[in-house]
């Protein structure tokens, strides 16, 4: 206490300054309308910006619901688009329809190189940039999904096979329409894949067919495989389902490269989702 008093007396100039200046400042704010308005405004501004910050943080908490609703909207839009596409996915070439857009075009290609025994398998096709192939296109065969175009040269392209540790393809169960990611998983059997991220509550039966969901590069409804083992739990709330792939990778000859005419539009639409997030 004595020391405190000593400090006060020693630095009395400063403390008296604080007291008197505070008094004067109080008078300023209280009696001058301009300053008062500014003080009130700036405090309002403070409060407002604080709320803004809080809301910005809170919006992250509702991100998944937001994403779900946007995905739903996307699905609805996709369904509408689907009405204007060709129903027969096996047709080759382009149908020039000036009234309706064709969403998917198919380019026939021959497999010139193939591997199934590596951990990351690649396929080489005999069509390239000259034939309109671009990076990121999906590749299917008559029996199922093959992979995604990785590199394109003038006359050839390489495909990141489904038998690749980083290939993920959106696929849906036939009955429940629940969708997840089709991956090769950590096995080395070219006939077996894994369907991940299917919620636990979804009822899966053995032998159920898996189709592409249409959410990724591939047209919806292409056969991907069938369930051979259900209920392998990868985490707490998702199933890892063992899939027998329908694609015969070991004797792959003829494939179709899927050109999604509306891919750019879809990407643009989905990039808006990112903006909102």
């Amino acid at each position: 206490m004595k020391n405190l008093w000593l400090i006060f007396t020693k630095y009395n100039a400063f403390f008296l300054f604080i007291v008197f200046f505070g008094l004067a400042f109080y008078l300023v704010v209280r009696n001058n309308t301009f300053q008062r308005a500014l003080v009130v405004n700036s405090s309002n501004h403070l409060v407002g910006s604080a709320y803004e910050k809080i809301n910005a943080w809170k919006s992250y908490l509702y991100l998944s619901e937001e994403n779900a609703s946007l995905a739903e909207e996307n699905a609805a839009l996709r369904e509408q688009l689907q009405r204007f596409t060709m129903p027969d996915t096996m047709i080759q070439g382009v149908v020039n329809d000036t009234v309706h857009h064709v969403q998917y075009q198919y380019i026939v290609a021959k497999v010139t190189n193939n591997s199934i025994h590596q951990q990351n398998n690649y396929i080489t096709l005999d069509k390239g940039r000259k034939h309109g192939i671009e990076r990121g296109m999906g590749v299917i065969s008559s029996s199922g999904i093959v992979g995604i175009v990785l590199h394109v040269s003038e006359h050839f392209c390489t495909v990141q096979s489904l038998l690749h540790s980083e290939t993920r393809i959106s696929a849906a169960l036939e009955d429940s329409q629940a969708f997840g990611s089709l991956v090769w998983g950590d096995n080395y059997d070219p006939r077996i894949g894994t369907l991940k991220d299917i919620p636990n509550h979804v009822k899966v039966r053995e032998g159920e067919l898996i189709y592409t969901s249409g959410f990724s590069l591939f047209p919806p409804g292409i056969l991907a495989g069938k369930v051979v083992q259900t209920g392998i739990s990868g985490g707490d709330s998702f199933l890892d389902i063992k899939i027998e792939l329908s694609t015969q990778f070991h004797n792959l000859q003829q494939v179709y490269v899927v050109k999604n005419v509306l891919a750019a539009e879809k990407a643009a639409l989905e990039s808006q989702n990112d903006d909102n997030g």
Binding site: F14, V29, Q35
Partner: protein
């Protein structure tokens, strides 16, 4: 002692009246407005207790504010001035060197010191005054120019005053 008190009371009244009736009407557009009333605070005796100095500065500021319809602005500036005066005196003067009731005016103190004293304290006062008056950082350069020009104006008037009452004191 009584003489010093009398002088200061007279200075208070005269400077206040001159400020509110004369200098209030003088100015260079809105850019340079002189506030020579701070001379009252500057010329208070060197050894004045801090509390009394603050009180007098506050009263002077509030009195000017009353005429300017800006209650508190000049008072705050004067309080800031009083504080800077205490600091300035503490740094530049050994108190026992001068007698306590000495008025720090040109003639009793060297001109160089006096000029610096007036300049620094006026700058301090005007900075607080105009900042509080503007009360925003919007168009800060305008406030800054006002501070500088007004400060020069005030210092010139104060020096003219001092010249008027200049008397070489025998020490």
């Amino acid at each position: 002692m009584a003489k010093v008190l009398l002088y200061n009371i007279a200075r208070f009244v005269v400077l206040l009246l001159m400020q509110v009736f004369l200098f209030k009407n003088i100015g260079y557009y809105n850019l340079a407005t002189p506030f020579p009333y701070i001379l009252f605070i500057l010329l208070l005796p060197v050894g004045i207790p801090n509390f009394i100095l603050y009180c007098l500065a506050f009263i002077m500021g509030v009195s000017v504010d009353a005429f300017y319809d800006t209650l508190g602005v000049n008072a705050a500036a004067c309080v800031a001035l009083a504080w800077s005066r205490i600091m300035f005196v503490r740094i530049t003067i050994q108190t026992d060197h001068y007698e306590n009731y000495m008025t720090p005016i040109w003639g009793t103190v060297p001109f160089r010191w006096y000029f610096l004293y007036v300049l620094v304290l006026a700058l301090f006062h005007h900075t607080v005054l105009f900042s509080l008056e503007a009360f925003t950082f919007h168009q800060f350069h305008y406030t800054f120019i006002r501070i500088l020009l007004s400060c020069i104006f005030t210092v010139i008037i104060i020096l003219l005053f001092s010249l008027l009452f200049y008397r070489k004191k025998q020490r």
